[in-house]
């Protein structure tokens, strides 16, 4: 067994072994299968050009760019509050989580800190968007493996969270609620109790998913041992979030490098890892993460302090010159913004480090030698949002 210190050489070895196996068994002519940009499993417009031998994948190369909106360029001509509305659309399932690292980066450059109540509400909404995002993953992954009922359950119960996000922010999908120095508004009346109910529903949903899907033998047969990503490979490709933790790397930005402005240390929760690194591990870690997120929300709801939700900031925001990189643990993984400011109304350059871009770049490595149905399992379990790849 080769040590996995040099990923490229390991990848080359694996590829060679697979090619040999494929070519020796049957001397057949390969087939190029073009999956997408309109394939149901690519939920979005990802295109995968797969070279097949029978049903076995010899190589799979993702083609991005069908949804490239040029956000990095657009940020250079927008003021900071305007960018906040723009970056909502990166990961559209957990939109609020997109706003937070950018706002935190701007706050860091301005040396502003949001009041405690705003930090609490930020963290709560952040975790709610995580629940909204990952609960859909659980259902959607079931859908891709053919268990369609899971998808409907996910859509049904996700509505509880979306309703809460909507009633607090006014937007189901694109809240645009975060502001430099705090939040747009305080919480509406009765929101805290309703959120408790919603989180209870989501915890019940997690149990239901565990019964219906994750515990199912066929599901396990389809995901266990499929698409194994060793920790070293995952790190060198920059996989983050549940994909990295499923490979056994115990790293969560919420716990290990939480930027100031989020209050994860005020709640009692746990980072789950799984040693296997396969599709099942990724699903399982996400399932646990949804539960943890619901628990964090419930705890923070109980301890939310009173006070203002907005610090004193100038109405026209000019960010002092400097550079800052702030990353948070978004539903999909590490999402960060490298903001370069020259003291203007607009940032000079914003590099958006989105999780899915790195997460999906491992696909050519991991898809080699898999079957076409496994390709769907791998794609589904790596869990990407197309807006998060293309930006």
């Amino acid at each position: 067994m080769t040590t996995v210190s040099d990923p490229q050489s390991v990848a080359a070895l694996v590829a060679e072994a697979n090619d040999n196996r494929v070519n020796l068994d049957f001397e057949t002519e390969g087939m190029t299968l073009n999956m997408g940009p309109q394939h149901p499993a690519t939920h979005g417009t990802l295109r995968i050009i797969a070279r097949l031998d029978g049903e076995q994948v010899i190589s799979a190369e993702p083609m991005c760019g069908y949804m490239h909106r040029g956000y990095e360029k657009l940020t250079e001509v927008r003021t900071y509050p305007q960018i906040n509305a723009l970056i909502n659309r990166i990961d559209w399932l957990g939109s609020f989580a997109n706003e937070v690292p950018f706002i935190l980066a701007a706050e860091k450059l301005m040396d502003v800190e949001a009041p405690p109540r705003a930090q609490w509400i930020r963290t709560i909404l952040f975790e709610m968007s995580r629940v909204a995002n990952i609960s859909l993953f659980l259902g959607d992954f079931g859908l891709q493996l053919g268990g369609m009922t899971a998808g409907f359950y996910a859509f049904r119960d996700r509505e509880w969270v979306l309703n809460q996000i909507e009633s607090a922010t006014g937007g189901r999908f694109h809240p645009n609620f975060d502001r430099i120095g705090g939040l747009k508004d305080d919480l509406p009346k009765g929101w805290i109790e309703e959120s408790h109910t919603a989180m209870d529903k989501l915890l019940a949903f997690c149990d239901e998913m565990e019964d219906l899907l994750v515990g199912n033998e066929i599901f396990q047969g389809r995901t266990r041992g499929i698409g194994v990503i060793p920790a070293e490979i995952a790190l060198s490709y920059g996989l983050s979030g549940a994909n990295l933790r499923a490979s056994g790397v115990d790293w969560d930005l919420r716990r290990d490098n939480c930027p100031p402005g989020l209050v994860y240390d005020k709640a009692d929760w746990k980072v789950w890892t799984h040693p296997d690194g396969d599709c099942f591990a990724r699903t399982w870690v996400r399932l646990q993460e949804t539960r943890e997120a619901a628990k964090i929300v419930k705890q923070l709801l109980d301890t939310i302090p009173s006070g203002p939700v907005m610090a004193k900031v100038p109405r026209i925001i000019k960010v002092p010159a400097g550079e800052a990189y702030v990353a948070t643990e978004n539903p999909l993984g590490e999402m960060g913004y490298y903001v370069v400011s020259k003291g203007d109304l607009v940032p000079f350059r914003v590099k958006i480090r989105s999780a899915s871009f790195n997460n999906i770049s491992v696909l050519p490595w991991v898809a080699r030698g898999a079957y076409v149905p496994d390709l769907i399992s791998i794609l589904g379990s790596l869990y990407f949002i197309l807006g998060d790849i293309d930006r």
């Binding site: 070293e232 004193k312 109405r315 002092p320 990189y325 490298y338 003291g343």
Partner: protein, 227 residues
């Protein structure tokens, strides 16, 4: 360095410059192992570390950092330090011509943390999970030769990021296995993230979003000019 114009958010200067021993130590070790490849550095206390290396040591920097435990590849991109000749592109250029607005004087090029001498800088970030710290690397690229050795043999994830940087900035990465476009069509001309690449949508018609930064009517304008 431009200052915030508002008085109430101006941050007071730190009384005594705080130190960041952990990052100093990382910088010292990195410098000792890379030798004279390190041409600039910057530490923001308790937050981040910037290291600028020269192009000859770009690849070696990745290897050294990886051996120091910085094994998590965060991103690789670039910065074009040329001040935008189009300003914020808030007004359609044809309107400016009609109004007789004089063309903007180009500002001086000011590089950010860790300094720099050239218009284009590579920007990459690695993270050490054990140390809980990240390093942001920068590397100057001379205008006449926008190429750098590829990182994709050290960090496989750099593959896609370099493809993106290539099409967005027009760099080339020596030794990259698959240098094809990431996003743009193959026949696309230009490098969109260069500052001298105009944002076409803005040149065709003005953007209504510009009213957002004008002072509210009836409110004392204590913030100074919007622009």
């Amino acid at each position: 360095m431009s200052q915030l114009s508002s008085a109430d958010t101006e941050t007071p200067e730190e009384a005594a410059p705080a130190t960041d021993d952990a990052r100093e130590a990382v910088l010292a070790e990195f410098t000792s192992r890379l030798g004279d490849g390190v041409v600039g550095s910057h530490i923001r206390v308790g937050d981040d570390l910037w290291i600028r290396v020269d192009r000859a040591h770009w690849l070696e920097a990745a290897e050294v950092a990886k051996s120091m435990g910085y094994r998590f590849f965060d991103f690789l991109s670039a910065i074009d330090w040329l001040p935008s000749p189009f300003g914020r592109d808030m007004d359609a250029q044809e309107d400016l011509v009609v109004a007789g607005t004089p063309a903007k004087e180009p500002e001086a090029m000011v590089q950010g943390y860790a300094g720099g001498d050239t218009r284009f800088q590579l920007l990459a970030r690695l993270y050490s999970i054990s140390a809980g710290m990240g390093i942001t690397f920068k590397c100057d690229l001379p205008d006449d030769d926008l190429s750098a050795p590829t990182w994709s043999n050290v960090f496989a994830g750099a593959n896609w990021h370099e493809r993106e940087a290539r099409e967005m900035f027009g760099f080339s990465f020596d030794g990259h296995p698959n240098m094809i476009n990431m996003y743009l069509p193959a026949d696309f001309v230009g490098n969109p993230l260069r500052k001298d690449f105009p944002l076409l949508a803005r040149r065709v018609r003005p953007w209504p979003g510009i009213v957002d930064v004008e002072p509210m009517p009836g409110v004392a304008d204590e913030e100074g000019e919007g622009e």
